[in-house]
């Protein structure tokens, strides 16, 4: 059992000024944004707390491409965001920490065109191998 304030404190002690945002919404939903690169440290912290990786979402913000990692940290539901510039969307993998992240990252790669660095198996997952567009990009 973690409360939101405990979680915020832990994040801020370990990541310091890399924590850009931290909000608590209705029904124990926590949204937090960290700087690209320090998300791995945060994910490791969540793993130590017994977190359960739900899914990874990729979002097109225009200037930037964002990845949202959704964790269940009972009783919280934490969405950890990190973003990379559109011209060079490189975000490091977390599939060595959570094996099940591998597929979610593959999806982000083919759908949004985010380059996940150090991914063990960067093939297409849903789209055919010869499909070259990124269907989920908005702008």
């Amino acid at each position: 059992m973690v409360t939101a304030s405990e979680l915020e404190e832990t994040l801020r002690t370990h990541l310091r000024e890399d924590v850009l945002e931290f909000t608590l919404a209705r029904r124990n939903r926590v949204f937090s944004k960290v700087r690209n690169g320090s998300h791995r440290q945060a994910v490791k912290l969540f793993q130590d707390m017994g977190g359960h990786l739900s899914v990874i979402t990729s979002v097109d913000l225009g200037e930037e491409l964002e990845l949202v990692y959704h964790f269940e940290l009972h009783p919280l539901q934490v969405s950890l965001k990190t973003s990379a510039p559109r011209g060079n969307p490189r975000i490091e993998t977390i599939s060595d920490i959570y094996p099940s992240a591998a597929w979610y990252e593959r999806e982000a790669m083919e759908m949004m065109g985010i380059t996940v660095v150090n991914h063990p198996d960067p093939r297409h997952l849903f789209l055919p191998d010869d499909y070259t567009e990124y269907p989920l990009r908005r702008f």
């Binding site: 789209l127 055919p128 499909y131 567009e133 269907p135």
Partner: protein
């Protein structure tokens, strides 16, 4: 005379090959439900066969997704003459609610020749039975 008998036997023994090409599973489940005791497609001799070589009627559901188009074509070619394809559900007929999607090659009749359409989202098992039997009569009936 012989022709008549053969056609009668064909009508009485449709072996179905079910190909789901990117559907929401619902038509597929209703096809399976048509096998179950309440509807019992075997009354008309229909059996679900896993194998295109054995099948007579190809039952297609779903929008034809990117990866399934070639598979569907190949399955249609592997099926022995005489054969017919039946498109089941709105998706296979017009792409239905997924009309604007990027992930489809269009409804079933853009990929293979389709002999009968069974509309509905999903069609009820009765509709599926009725559609298949009507198609059989049209193909090999008097």
């Amino acid at each position: 005379m012989l022709d008549k008998m053969v056609n009668y036997c064909r009508k009485k023994s449709p072996w179905l090959l079910h190909v789901s090409c990117g559907s929401c599973n619902n038509c597929d489940i209703e096809i399976l439900a048509a096998l179950a005791p309440r509807f019992d497609v075997e009354r008309f001799g229909g059996v679900l066969k896993p194998n295109p070589r054995h099948a007579d009627i190809i039952v297609v559901t779903g929008i034809i997704s990117l990866k399934m188009r070639d598979v569907l074509k190949r399955l249609y070619e592997q099926t022995m003459e005489p054969k017919a394809a039946v498109a089941i559900g709105s998706c296979a007929i017009t792409k239905g609610i997924f009309n604007e999607t990027y992930a489809s090659y269009g409804p079933a009749d853009k990929v293979i020749p389709v002999a009968a359409y069974i509309p509905g989202c999903p069609p009820r098992p009765q509709a599926i039975l009725h559609g298949v039997v009507t198609a059989l009569n049209a193909l090999w009936g008097e």
